[in-house]
């Protein structure tokens, strides 16, 4: 069964079709890249899947269940995780706190639990801290765990945002330009991390402008232009198709 199945999804802004009846399915444990020029509707598509925009038409199924009427936080609860293009770390919190807060199951977020069932909350907090420790090592930021997120480098912030998704137990990772603006050395680090995550059972759908890099790690590539999917296939198929150049260069 496909993890994510999108059928005839459409969204317009003032008559401009940002996403124009797009259909596709994502199999679990794969990396799928969406490439295409600016304004192709890629981020809009992500916002529709994550629930930050309401669709005009079409349906989205996640794990076989229609999620069209669920709020963004409900979708996140089901395992749809989102990495933002502008990262959006919690700037005034430390790297470690950024991870701790992302933990999904936190009874201590209810004040009554925290005050009346402190032992239970404390036990889970301990587990939460251990999980955060594992994740921070995994994203190789353990030396920065007590730094404020705003003091981390751009690439480190991206890693932290990825780590946050791991703490959140997201299964489908929607990554909006995970390597944009990151120094070249760190690009490879981030991509390797993404591959590792998929090995551990995550599923990745990412928007990427660095086409060769995207091709190098993806199982599937979708080429989007003017709200439609113009081309899709394995990286080899897509890169050998003359349509790719046409979409990107308009020739």
């Amino acid at each position: 069964m496909a993890l994510l199945e999108i059928q005839h999804l459409a969204k317009s802004f003032d008559g401009v079709k940002a996403v124009d009846h797009v259909s596709f399915a994502i199999e679990p444990g794969t990396i799928t890249s969406i490439i295409g020029p600016n304004g192709a509707g890629k981020t809009t598509l992500f916002n529709l899947v994550a629930g930050f925009l309401r669709r005009d038409a079409g349906t989205i199924h996640y794990k076989g269940k229609a999620i069209d009427d669920l709020s963004p936080s409900q979708r996140a609860g089901l395992g749809v995780g989102r990495l933002w293009q502008d990262i959006r770390v919690f700037r005034n919190m430390t790297a470690r706190e950024n991870l701790l807060v992302a933990q999904k199951h936190q009874p201590g977020e209810k004040i009554s639990n925290y005050l009346l069932r402190y032992k239970n909350v404390d036990k889970l907090e301990k587990q939460n801290r251990e999980a955060a420790e594992r994740v921070i090592k995994f994203i190789r930021l353990d030396h920065k765990q007590n730094s404020l997120a705003q003091d981390l480098s751009y690439g480190q912030q991206k890693l932290l945002a990825l780590g946050r998704l791991l703490m959140n137990e997201a299964e489908l990772l929607l990554l909006d330009e995970p390597t944009a603006g990151v120094n070249p050395l760190m690009i490879d680090e981030i991509l390797a991390l993404i591959q590792m995550l998929v090995k551990e059972g995550k599923t990745v759908l990412m928007i990427e402008h660095n086409v060769p890099k995207a091709m190098s790690i993806s199982d599937w590539v979708y080429v989007m232009d003017e709200g439609r999917i113009e081309l899709y296939g394995s990286p080899a198929e897509v890169s050998s198709n003359p349509l790719l150049k046409e979409v990107y260069l308009g020739v």
Binding site: A50, F52, S71, P72, S73, Q74, A76, G77, G81, R82, W84, R88, V89, F90, R91, N92, M93, E97, N98, L100, V101, A102, K104, Q106, G108, E109, K110, I111, Y114, L115, V121, E125, R164, N168
Partner: protein, 289 residues
């Protein structure tokens, strides 16, 4: 000595107010101009229950907290839909409405005449009527509130509030029900403000609406901003400073007639200097953007 004790009681009250306001402003990122309204609601509810219906202080206090918290839900649902500047305007509207009701509902509140003869509080049969005993009582209550808020700040709940303050959208994308967190933050803050109101009413034994105006709200906000937000220390420092500073001015032999105005001028200067030199406040952690 009495003068000093009076100052101490004032500081205790404002520490409660500034700390609870900090939960909204510094921890949740909700800049509000309505904290004095909740303070006033607590004061009036306690007073009416004690004076008109003969309630015991403790019961009146508990009911006043409950009533204020219930009202805060109403305000939350009406105003939390708005973000940023619009939220501030909505709280301003609420502040003005509460004042107008207190001022004009003469049958209930006696409007501008105020309510005199509020009994001093008594707990378990012990009457707290001397200045010294009240300052001790205030100290205990302020410590309880500070302790309670410190627990909240340290809790996973408080941590999620900070995440919401820093980036609401990202918090939503992690599955946090942002609205629910904000509503609870406002409820706790207003409940604490109601406690301060109850203490104020029974301390002064006379209340009228002019004690709960927008000026009061701004004063509380100044304390939080001057002192610093995002931790426990900042608002306390702010409260002490903005209470003690105008009192110190008395020793400068400024005529009483202009002292109040000079106080305002100093606030203004302080705030501006603060924003330039120490945007995170004297002892704060979180910096406004």
């Amino acid at each position: 000595m009495n003068y000093l004790l009076h100052l101490i009681v004032l500081i205790e009250l404002y520490v409660m107010l500034a700390l609870s306001l900090n939960l909204m402003v510094g921890y949740t990122g909700l800049l509000t101009l309505a904290h004095a309204a909740f303070y006033g609601l607590g004061a009036y509810a306690t007073t009416l229950l004690m004076v008109n219906w003969g309630f015991d202080f403790l019961f009146a206090l508990i009911l006043a907290i409950a009533g204020t918290v219930l009202l805060s839900f109403l305000i939350s649902f009406a105003s939390l839909r708005f973000r940023g500047d619009y939220f501030i305007l909505a709280t301003l509207a609420f502040q003005v409405i509460v004042f107008a009701v207190l001022y004009n509902w003469v049958d209930l509140t006696r409007g501008p005449y105020g309510i005199p003869g509020i009994p001093k509080p008594s707990l378990l049969g012990i009457k707290i009527d001397s200045l010294l005993s009240f300052s001790l009582f205030g100290f205990v209550v302020a410590c309880l509130i500070a302790g309670f808020l410190a627990l909240i700040f340290r809790s996973p709940f408080g941590r999620t509030l900070q995440a919401i303050r820093d980036d609401e959208l990202a918090a939503t994308a992690l599955g946090k029900n942002v609205m629910s967190f904000k509503v609870r933050s406002v409820a706790i803050a207003s409940g604490c403000a109601a406690v301060a109101g109850a203490l104020y009413a029974t301390y002064v034994t006379f209340i009228d609406p002019t004690s709960f105006t927008i000026d009061e709200s701004i004063l509380m906000l100044s304390m939080v901003i001057v002192g610093g937000t995002g931790n426990l220390k900042g608002p306390m420092v702010g409260a002490v400073m903005l209470i003690v500073l105008p009192e110190l001015l008395r020793f400068l032999a400024i005529p009483d007639a202009v002292a109040a105005n000079i106080r305002l001028i100093i606030y203004g200067f302080l705030l501006i200097i603060m924003m330039h030199v120490r945007p995170q406040g004297l002892a704060g952690k979180y910096q406004f953007e």
